[in-house]
Symmetry: C3
Subunit: 346 residues, 3 copies
């Protein structure tokens, strides 16, 4: 791809370099070769520019580059420009049109033309699968599941009865969509009586779910992941939760039941969210934090339990010096005792 | 179902409403419709009674209800009464009697009549599966596994060699029962020598295991989950652990090896339990806490490492003000210095 | 096996007992029977020697044993000696030579002689599987995967396109190797644009991966787990990470992208490692700790965020008394105020 074409697609401006320069790939600064384009997103890595072997680089306006042997493309958002370019170099494989002979499709399931159904996939009664969808080996689709257009369901995924997927949904391997919520009532003799879990899970358009993640169906009603939300590996979404549009939930985070996560919320890795609470739009919980209270929109919070991130940073600094602090307190006590004795003796 | 029948089955008393009132379902207060019954379990949600569209509600004695357009059933435990009612509306599907043609059953396995064995299930040598058990698509049962009556094994589950399940066991999708424990001895050249993991896992009657959970087999002997214990999604149970009856282990909790969890213990979400320790009956660890010490029966503990929950709450309050505390300490030091100077000058 | 033979294989010295004593198994002190050998690794369990029914025991030099009815083998490392002995009693099953009729093997895949390919395994185009490898039921191997000699791939495992395994690799059930990394660029309208994940995962010789673990492929380049590293259940390894030789990563630990974990590092259970950082050789992070900074070789750190383990222990002790500390501070303030008043009045 010519540099000019890359600039055009990514909305970047060529500052240095020939528009006819041939670029054959895109990669990070450490891996990129002479014929590849790279990017600098975080100014802290600026020194790496001196070392990269890349032939071209996306830089935001204002970042200086002392090298004249590398093409420079100025972009409003270098990472986004890089993403667009990498996507251009790696278009999705076209979906073939086949149902493998070993797949077991219920006669009352409807598979549109233009789907790829791989070996040993099992699809239940009354399922409908729309065109452009690809289901990899050994996936299990229970009865009554609806899957929209252009979805990718990887091997080992289980989608339980009556769940519904929009279009463009991706589910990575061995994830479970629609397992029972964890609901029990305690009987008089202190045993657990299972609450029926007869609701469903809805994944709206362009949702992506990582590998080995579990999303519980609602007991009654639905668990809903809205348009464009992205969920990483090994995440737990409890029953009746709602994850709003474009939320980002990182690996090993867990949500108890009935919580509502706002638009564009970021839950970093290993976060915990208690049940029946609301995290406002654009809030951020940093890694390993947990909350059992509502979170206001736009807040950045940390800790267990989580509070304002800046205060938490100060508190963690204090925590490191807690031994010292206790020592100081003891010194102060003895100095006061001494002063009190002096005053009494006067 | 008539209101009278609901009252009878759930042990509730009709305070307001016709015994002949037809109820067609049960649901939470936010979702219930005019023809459905709902419940109030937590008094903090009492204001929602004013808004629910439900036609009937389970209330505990003493909770006031100002509405006269809704049938009221008084129950000792409204949540339990609701659970019983929801179960009446959603009985389990009867188990069909088939082995799908694509299932691969070892000739030396014994499948009782009255089992549902779905497509692409694989069952190994010398397995025995008792009547009423349902195994969904793409599950893998290794050699020598025994499965009791009326179990439900969901798609993608793996049960490793020689494990044993009682009756009424439920295992959700993609969980692993009996994978190797994580045991290695360090060699003289600082490499890891694998300890054979040749024990097994036993799940007793009425155990339920969530999705994508891993339960390690013992190296020698067994890992045992006792009658009625419930384990959520994405939980790790290390080798040789014992989980006693009616324990409740929430999502993403992890247990290292050889620990013993008492009866009715509750481990909330993302808890960590170190190896070789004992958590006494009825103890509770709150979410995200961890212990590397034994826990006395009935204790409620929190934190990393965990201690008494009330003290922990006080400490977390102090933690939030740690920056302020350090500031106060500095002020006190300067005030003392001033006093000391004054006394010296006198 | 004769006691003499056990001593010979494990490098131990018979202190008490007949070289001809017949031992039929090995087990822990609580489970071992008269005809079995056991071990004491941790001196804290020394009192259990009095109670074990074992017929023989591995002890390190210097540990006293008051019993004369039990054979004693002195070993430099009793746990290692036990591991060697248990391995002798439980040799690996020899690999049979078959491809089950229900397995779906792409015609352009090459399976060496001497492999065990179980029922419903799916193997894609251009895969190569070397001799001695065993793949259990319902595993899914995508196109272009290379698997070395003597590997064990358990049921439900997914290995994604173009990943590569050395020899002697073990992967437990339902794990995912090579799922997409969690990478998105934010668009101008605050949605997430997926970064192509077209790299791969390499597992070198003698790596072991637990059950239900997810290892992300690199976006470009590779994620690499080096020779002899051991990874437990439910672990998350982010894209482009490198795990060096003989590292040990315990259950439910998570690594964000591009981090480098040194040789023999131990990450205990539920640890979190942020992205783009380096943990030096032989460092240890204790359970539930997290770091977003580099860790020096050999350090033992704890906490969120993690720091020196000894200091952390002191800080956690202080944390438990934080309520009390704040109370003391208030007392001190009132005593100072009193002193200040006295001085003013003089």
């Amino acid at each position: 791809m010519k540099l000019a074409e890359i600039a055009r697609q990514s909305g970047a401006r060529i500052e240095i370099g020939s528009p006819d320069f041939d670029i054959i790939g895109a990669s990070g600064m450490d891996l990129a070769r002479e014929s590849e384009i790279t990017f600098l997103a975080n100014p802290k890595y600026t020194p790496q520019i001196a070392e990269t072997r890349a032939g071209a680089i996306f830089l935001s306006e204002g970042i200086e580059c002392s090298r004249d042997d590398i093409a420079i493309l100025r972009a409003a958002d270098p990472y986004l420009a890089y993403a667009i370019t990498l996507r251009a170099f790696h278009p999705d494989n076209p979906v073939a049109d086949f149902v493998h002979a070993s797949a077991v499709i219920h006669p009352a399931a409807v598979i549109a033309a233009g789907c790829e159904i791989h070996a040993n996939v099992v699809i239940g009664e009354n399922c409908t699968i729309e065109s452009g969808t690809r289901i990899f080996a050994n996936a299990s689709i229970y009865n009554g599941v609806k899957i929209g257009r252009d979805c990718t369901i990887h091997s080992g995924v289980s989608i339980r009865e009556n769940c519904e997927l929009g279009s463009g949904v991706i589910i990575h391997n061995n994830s479970t969509i629609g397992c029972d919520g964890f609901g029990y009532a305690k009987t008089a003799d202190k045993q657990w009586l299972k609450i029926p879990q007869v609701g469903r899970v809805v994944l709206e358009d362009d949702v992506e779910i990582g590998a080995n993640t579990a999303i519980d169906r609602a007991s009654v009603g639905e668990t809903r992941i809205k348009r464009g939300a992205k969920i990483d590996n090994l995440v737990q979404i409890g029953h009746s939760c709602t994850i709003d549009e474009d939320a980002l939930i990182c690996s090993q985070t867990g949500l108890a039941g009935s919580s509502v996560i706002g638009k564009r919320v970021i839950l970093a890795g290993q976060v915990g969210i208690a049940g029946h609470l609301k995290v406002g739009d654009d809030a951020v919980l940093t890694a390993k934090s947990a909350t059992s209270h509502d979170v206001e929109p736009g807040k950045v919070i940390s800790g267990i339990p989580a509070f304002n991130n800046r205060e938490w940073l100060r508190s963690t600094a204090g925590f490191r010096r807690l031994g010292e602090l206790a020592q100081k307190l003891r010194e102060i006590q003895s100095r006061i005792s001494k002063l009190e004795t002096q005053n009494r003796e006067q």
